[in-house]
Symmetry: C2
DNA sequence: ATTATTTTTGCGGTTTCCCGCAATAAAATA
DNA sequence: TATTTTATTGCGGGAAACCGCAAAAATAAT
């Protein structure tokens, strides 16, 4: 007997997933459902399902975080991520935490029912990793003329997005003040903030720091969820008040 | 004969809406659908439906913008917004553009089928305005100890979110540099940025400017979509390159 | 081991931001 | 109209941020 877990907050989508799984020729004898990450973790614990299929965007806890928790206990658990977005923030988050032995899939919600069904079969039956083509593009998408961001730069981006000062970042990352500024400089360059030739002799139009956040947000390098988890992360690493 | 228009990018939700409308005892003889704002505007033009029901979050164009365009030509068109979010950014956007003579509804996607059906009937049959209770809360929700933001302050918030410098804001809004800073000061206060007593004698932990953006984002005062439309707005008001 | 390449760091100077104090100007209220 | 309240502006100083230049340190490549 095999159990599968659906993690998805929208009930319409949950029903849809249920249908697809039933139609997938998995020998699925039990189907359990969770509406958010915490519940998912609990249910995995309790039922030890054969596989999980989950939305990335959920209340309380990102799918990425939930997956991390699940994999922490159960590194080989197959997980299919079914998401609306091709945000770099998500993809980066996942590829960073997927254990070598785990099989997983990343399917966009715009995919057809057929494609989703096939992908589910590939992951849960064949143990293959399946990543939608559109996503693979994101994995090494270059932003404008430059290549993607370094881990350091991405970190710095999150830090300024949180509103930290240079000094605070320096303390946190254990590097000098000037290094922080160096990384930011690098970041600004890659985000294409420095090219404006300042046509009119007037003052600068943009503040690099805040503009960087805006650009990153608009080009989906980061998103609201990633800000929230960065915030939690920061809180945990400093004052331990929840 | 009466026509209704569904505007929604997610096909599952579109099907759901179709079902509900059909079950609503509207004398609906024709049901047309659009997957994004532009298409919606076109279809309204072409079919002159009796009413529109639309998602707020869509590709290319926010529901708010689409509604604005529709109401510009057809100020009395009844529109039901069906949205995932109770973001202040959306609510503020809508209440700013709804014409006095228009009837509209704002229903959350978490509402039950029944409630949605009833709401649709109220709007399209009875010409009532229907706003989910959870939303009404947002309309004058107070942020922390303070009341909501002024229009000026909200504007300023968007401006710094875009990454504009104080000077650029001053130019744009036709006020002095110092006024901009005054408004920001006000904003920082309302966002609760100034209370940290700076426990350790160390340097400031947060940069007010960027921190304000982070806080606003996390408390849903603004969202990604509102940034994007603010960006367009700004571009249009200055260099007119698209 | 040696040579490239990248990162980190320091110095110094300019710009921008942050904000208290206080005088107008404008708007709301009595 | 008189009075309160609120918003705008100027002044001024201290704190961050921004950034070019260039040396030292750490990494990667040959």
């Amino acid at each position: 007997m095999s159990t599968f877990l659906i993690v998805e907050d929208d009930s319409l989508h949950r029903n849809f997933l249920r249908e697809v799984i039933i139609a997938s020729d998995l020998e699925c004898t039990q189907l359990i459902e969770a509406a958010d990450g915490e519940e998912a973790i609990r249910l995995v614990h309790e039922y030890a399902p054969k596989g999980v299929i989950m939305d990335l965007q959920m209340p309380k806890m990102t799918g990425v975080q939930a997956a991390k928790a699940i994999w922490a206990e159960n590194p080989s658990m197959p997980i299919v991520f079914w998401s609306n977005y091709d945000d770099e923030a998500y993809v980066r988050g996942i590829t960073k935490i997927v254990p070598p032995c785990a099989t997983y899939g990343y399917i966009l919600k715009t995919s057809s029912k057929e494609r989703l069904r096939r992908s589910i079969q590939c992951v849960f039956l064949e143990g293959q990793n399946v990543i939608d083509r559109e996503i693979r593009g994101v994995q090494q998408r270059s932003l404008g003329r430059s290549e993607g961001l370094t881990e350091s730069e991405y970190e710095a981006l999150l830090d300024i997005t949180l509103g930290l000062t240079d000094q605070a970042i320096a303390d946190r990352r254990k590097i000098s003040l000037r290094s922080v500024q160096g990384r930011l400089q690098q970041l600004y360059g890659k985000l294409g903030l420095i090219e404006m030739p300042l046509l009119n002799g007037g003052a600068a139009e943009f503040n690099s720091r805040t503009r960087a956040v805006a650009v990153a947000l608009m080009s989906r390098l980061i998103n609201e969820k990633s800000i929230e988890s960065a915030e939690l992360d920061y809180r945990r690493s400093t004052g331990k008040e929840s």
